[in-house]
């Protein structure tokens, strides 16, 4: 199940679609890609290179590198990257 967005205090812009490995999900421009994935219930963002175990958001500030994914062809921490319409994200970039 996806994590719930908090409605109070702010108004979000109109949602857009982003592509995650062929699946289209709704996201709000400006929120982080990590947040959009979290809200869509996608918690496992990559597999670790040694044991291929699932990893997700851990520091949310660009330090731990656990949430990196392929965004439009570039390996990027999803917690720092703002959502833009039409973004293409791959969570399988480091898997065989």
């Amino acid at each position: 199940m996806g994590a719930r967005r908090i409605e109070g205090g702010i108004a979000r812009p109109a949602p857009v679609s982003i592509d995650v490995d062929g699946q289209s999900i709704q996201a709000f421009p400006g929120e982080s890609v990590a947040t959009a994935l979290w809200a869509a219930g996608i918690r496992a963002l990559r597999t670790s290179p040694v044991s291929a175990s699932a990893r997700g958001i851990f520091c949310a500030m660009g330090v731990c590198q656990e949430c990196v994914a392929d965004i439009d062809g570039r390996t990027t921490p999803t917690c720092l990257e703002p959502v833009r319409e039409g973004m293409r994200i791959s969570l399988r970039w480091n898997r065989p």
Partner: protein
């Protein structure tokens, strides 16, 4: 290349305040930050595309952060956001990545205000998706406006615990339990130092009141000994601890949850001063290794200054004051006219703020027994998946220093560059040397200071464009 009088690294309360003061005193200031706006982690703004409709609902930190952002925007300082600094050469030549390309900035003076990162002493299951730091949960709640989970265990040390738990409730989520290492007595002992900030003390009591009203179970003097679940978090196991925070055997209790947020205090981020070769000392109550500095916050490397929590954990209020004093000091030393009485007032305020901040920081620092939550199979280094058993084996083989341990086991060699595992590894090493962290040293800082795209270093080129000599003999 962009040349100026001062480069400030980091736009949190310290860096932004330093840039405001130095630029208003007439210096040409460039401020670089990896984020999208000023505020750092503590005053992190919601995304620019979000419209704040109810500032009160965003909490008191939002108003302070917004005030700081407005003051910075009105100052002559030139701010460059989205810049990740990866190298600094003497002189000082700063290299930062922006949108995949390297930019170069140059100035004779550097103010380093890189803030902190969070310490988490590992336990089984801490790599599962759904487990995150307290600072991460704060960012999700305050800036991204999303819950860390439906039913969250909040665990660790310090005032962030109650703050995060109260924010989860306010955002409509459920707190499965608050699990704190400190006891009520630890807080009572700190009280005389905390009374200097009655406003913050009142806020803390307010959070606890909200948790009690919501019926959140609070376990004090307890550690998280395991996080359970196969693919995702299903719950936690907790145990009471002794005075050194060693979990007591045979008294485990389980709590169901779908997410966990955990932290064991903050560690000053010193990679820049380490890279530049400044002298550091280990100060437990300030979060660990800090750069040695004089009263103007100048390090042992002339013209490199440190400000904020990166110079030793003392909290957001002290960070802003340190930033202002550093900004004024840099301007004074550059021969600019500054208001000396204002500097005196700021220094007096700093004394009071630091007293509060150091007392809180002291409460948050992990005690030596906490390393026992790391079982032999527990992954300590998340990047390279080095377990406690691997580290214990290196220690048995004679590793005595964190860099030696890194070379032998790869612990700290991955993309986080030891920021996640460094504290745990150093604590294990220190445990066999009488608990003295100063003996085990600190990891050597090397460029790139952050993982960056390869093209950002080498630039973009085509092999066809390379001039190759004709094969010889022709």
């Amino acid at each position: 290349m962009s040349a100026c009088d001062v480069i400030v690294l980091g736009a949190g309360p310290a860096g932004a305040s330093a840039a405001i003061e130095a630029s208003k005193a007439g210096l040409n200031v460039v401020l670089l930050d990896a984020g999208a706006a000023a505020g750092g982690q503590v005053y992190r703004a919601p995304p620019g595309s979000f419209r704040v409709t109810d500032a009160e609902a965003m909490g008191p930190d939002f108003a302070i952060g917004d005030g700081l952002r407005q003051e910075l925007a009105a100052s002559p300082a030139k701010c460059f956001f989205g810049r990740s600094v990866w190298h600094i050469a003497p002189g000082f030549v700063v290299r930062a990545v922006f949108e995949g390309n390297t930019e170069v900035y140059e100035a004779p003076t550097l103010i380093v205000a890189m803030g902190t990162h969070e310490r988490v002493i590992p336990m089984p299951g801490w790599t599962l998706p759904g487990v995150m730091g307290l600072a991460a949960a704060t960012i999700l709640l305050k800036s991204q406006r999303i819950l860390p989970g439906e039913n969250t265990v909040v665990a660790g040390t310090g005032p962030l615990l109650a703050a995060v738990a109260a924010s989860i409730l306010k955002g409509g989520g459920k707190v499965a339990a608050l699990v704190e290492l400190s006891t009520r007595m630890d807080w009572v002992k700190a009280l005389p130092s905390l009374i200097s900030r009655p406003d913050l003390l009142k806020r803390g009591f307010g959070w606890l009141g909200e948790l009690r009203a919501a019926g959140v179970p609070i376990y004090r003097g307890h550690a998280l000994t395991a996080i359970t679940g196969d693919a995702e978090v299903t719950g936690v196991e907790i145990a009471p601890v002794d005075a050194q925070w060693r979990p007591l055997a045979g008294q485990r209790r389980t709590i169901a949850a779908d997410s966990v947020t955990i932290g064991h205090g903050l560690v000053p981020s010193t990679e820049v001063t380490r890279l530049m070769g400044a002298k550091h000392e280990y100060r437990h109550e300030q979060g660990g290794w800090v750069a040695l500095r004089n009263e103007d916050f100048e390090t042992t490397i002339p013209n490199i200054f440190v400000a904020g929590d990166g110079a030793g954990i003392a909290g957001a209020a002290a960070a802003a004051l340190r930033g202002r004093i550093t900004g004024l000091a840099v301007a004074r030393r550059a021969g600019r006219k500054i208001d000396a009485s204002r500097e005196t007032t700021l220094r007096a305020q700093l004394g009071k703020a630091e007293r509060f901040g150091h007392a809180i920081s002291d409460l948050m620092q992990a005690r030596p027994g906490l390393i026992e939550t790391m079982t032999p199979e527990t992954i300590v280094c998340r990047c390279e998946e080095v377990t406690r058993a691997d580290l214990d084996s290196a220690i048995r083989d004679g590793a005595r220093d964190v860099n030696q341990m890194k070379a032998w086991t790869r612990c700290g060699m991955g993309p986080c560059q030891g920021r996640m595992c460094g504290e745990a590894a150093a604590s294990l090493l220190a445990a066999v040397q009488g608990g003295d962290r100063s003996k085990v040293g600190q990891l050597t800082a090397r460029p790139p200071l952050r993982p960056i795209p390869y093209e950002a270093i080498v630039g973009q080129f085509d092999y066809a464009d390379m001039e190759l000599p004709e094969p010889q003999p022709g």
